[in-house]
Structures are given as C-alpha cells and as structure tokens.
C-alpha cells in the first residue's frame, strides 16, 4: 500500500467516524429540540404540512397557559413536596446506614450489603401488588405520604450503596484522629465524616431527587384525584378537557415538559462544582 493511499484511507476513516458521531448526537438531541420547538410554536403551526423546523414567530403563549393552570401549579407543588422529603429522608437514613455498613464490622454485614445491592436493581413493578395492599390498608391511598413511602423503596437502597462506597474511600486517619480527641462514634460521624462526604451526599441526593421527580408507576397507581397528582401524571393527564377542545394540547404539554425539566437542569448546574470538588484533597498530611 502506498503512503498516499494510506493517507486517503485514514482520512476516510476519520470522516466516517465524524458522520457516525453526528448521527448519534442528532439522535440524542433531536427529542429535546423537538420538545422546545413544539413548546414555542403556536397551535396553528404545530402540525403544518411543510414541517416548521424553526418557527418564524416563536410565542410564549403555551407557557403562559400552563403556568396559569391551577392543576399544573398544584402538581409542581406536590412533586416538590414528595421529591424533597424523599431526598431528605433517604439522605438522613441512608447516610447513617451507609456509615454503619461501610465502617463498622458486625455479624451479618455482608448479607445486608448484598440485600441492599439487589434491592437497587429490583424492578419496582414486582412489589406493586404488595405495596398497593399495604397502602390501602394503612389508609394512605391517594395521599402524598403513600408516594413518599413508596419512593423510598428505590431511593434508599441506592443512597446507602453509593454513600457506603463513598465512606469507605475516606481516609481512616481522620476518624482515628477524632476518636483520639475523645469524640463518640456519632460525633465522629456527624462532625467529621458527614461534612467530608458532602460531595457524595449532594450527588446521591440529586440522583434520588431526579428519580423521585420522574417517577410514574407508583404515582399513577397510588393516587386518584387531580389535587394529588405529581408533574409526570399531570402531563400525562393533559387531555382535551384542560386544553378546552377536542384536540390534545401538544404545545402546552411540551411547554409543561420543558418547565418540569428545568429545575433538574438548574439543580445539576448549581451543584456541579460541589459534585466535582474533592473535599478530602489535602485533608490528611502524609
């Protein structure tokens, strides 16, 4: 093979690589682009026959309608309450459990770890029947408490597992130094280990929040009336009656979707620095 031919081949390879990359990026970005485009387009252009890829006259009308809708505002409030309390509870309980599982050795620790690991992969529909019976028996049906309770089933094992690996990475010297200074195990945990694991807490908390915010199956199964709906359900039930006609209000649905996704993006951006920051760097002098 001559050098010239080899060069052509290599260039062809590069070109193919970029084409493939472009296709993948397009495939991933297009739904987001389409959601935003549908949200800012007036209803008349929504399904116009020469497809409008870039609206000539973008409008915020859909957003205005969605925000004005009491049901949507109620749903955002519900979702915030549920996802917020789920995050706080799973961080609180999860950090305590993770510290115990990660730092203390006791009988049955390995089985407990494996149970928690398997719980993180548990399909949530497989406990739906039991949960449904429990929740109706406890009188929690159609209450936000039912959602908090059931979301903890999948956020808690995940929180414990991630924080456990996080605690195990922290240097033992810090803990020993605290014990030497006369701290009790709980003080060591609360004053030393917990602040040090802030990046881990923020990351897992954020992931738990996103999981609870996006949850659909349990929200659909355990609530009934519109005033208890979470955002996912509210968008799902965006039907002709809220739009005021016989058409499905796609523009408003997409506007609601964009509005609901925004807090997650903002939260990620706010905490990004904390997630990246390694707080233990330089904590122990070697």
């Amino acid at each position: 093979m001559t050098p010239a031919r080899r060069r052509v081949l290599r260039r062809l390879e590069r070109a193919l690589f970029w084409v493939l990359l472009g296709i993948i990026v397009l495939y991933l970005i297009f739904p987001f682009y389409w959601a935003i485009r549908s949200a800012i387009v007036p209803d008349s252009v929504q399904f116009a026959t020469p497809v409008v890829y870039w609206p000539a006259d973008p409008t915020l009308e859909n957003f205005r309608k969605v925000i004005a809708s009491g049901q949507f505002r109620r749903a955002v409030l519900n979702s915030t309450i549920v996802a917020g309390s789920v995050t706080l509870l799973s961080l609180l309980v999860g950090a305590l459990g993770a510290y115990a599982l990660g730092r203390f050795s006791f009988r049955g620790r390995t089985p407990v770890r494996y149970v928690i690991l398997s719980m993180t992969m548990f399909p949530s529909v497989s406990v739906l029947g039991g949960l449904y019976t429990l929740i109706t028996q406890f009188g929690l049906y159609n209450r936000l408490g039912a959602l908090v309770y059931s979301y903890l089933i999948f956020t808690l094992p995940f929180t414990v597992w991630v924080l456990m690996t996080f605690f195990r990475q922290l240097p033992r010297d810090l803990e020993e130094a605290a014990y030497v200074d006369g701290a009790t195990p709980f003080q060591t945990f609360w004053r030393i280990m917990l602040p040090l694991s802030a990046p881990g807490l923020v990351t897992t908390g954020l992931l738990a929040f996103i999981a609870a915010w996006n949850e659909f199956l349990y929200a659909l199964s355990f609530t009934q009336t519109p005033d208890k709906r979470t955002v996912t359900l509210a968008i799902f039930y965006f039907s002709p009656q809220t739009g005021g006609g016989f058409e499905i209000p796609w523009g408003q649905m997409m506007a609601a979707t964009v509005l609901v996704t925004l807090p997650l993006i903002v939260l990620t951006l706010i905490f990004q620095r904390r997630i990246i920051a390694g707080l233990t760097a330089g904590a122990v002098k070697g």
């Binding site: 992969m121 529909v125 497989s126 029947g129 449904y132 019976t133 996912t232």
Partner: protein, 87 residues
Amino acid sequence: VITLPLLRPAIAVALIFRSLDALRAFDVFYVLFGARPDTQTMAVYAQNNIVAFSDVGYGSAISVLIFLIIAIFVVAYVTSLRVEAES
C-alpha cells in the same frame, strides 16, 4: 482482540442493567399506548390488573413472574459471560 475482552465485565454490567430496565419498561408504553392488550408490556399488564381491575392476587402473580424472568436473564448473562464477582 485485546480491548474488547478486557471490557467484558463493563459490558456485562451494562447489558444486565439495560435488560433489567427494558424488561420492566412501564411508563413510555403506558403513556403512548395505554393498557391496550396488543401493545402492553409485562409491567403494564401487571399494573392494570392490580390497580384498574383491583385483582391484586393475579397482578402480583404477574409481578413475581416478571421478577423470575428478569432473574433468568441475569443468570444467563452472568454464566455465559463468566463474570467474576468484584469487590
């Protein structure tokens, strides 16, 4: 020949996670198609029986079957890829 076999554990984990997710798929199917018999997934079938028909026993039986089917998949992957347990 070299890189791919080394990636085997990572691929196995990704494969297991994706299959678990795919087999328990619920929301996209339910939102797009509702609980129609010709387009429902296992999870939609179970949820519909438990909540809409209040047949908790039958729905729970489906749920347990879903769990078993997923377990079969996982066991098949793990044995065929011979993944060593980590940590």
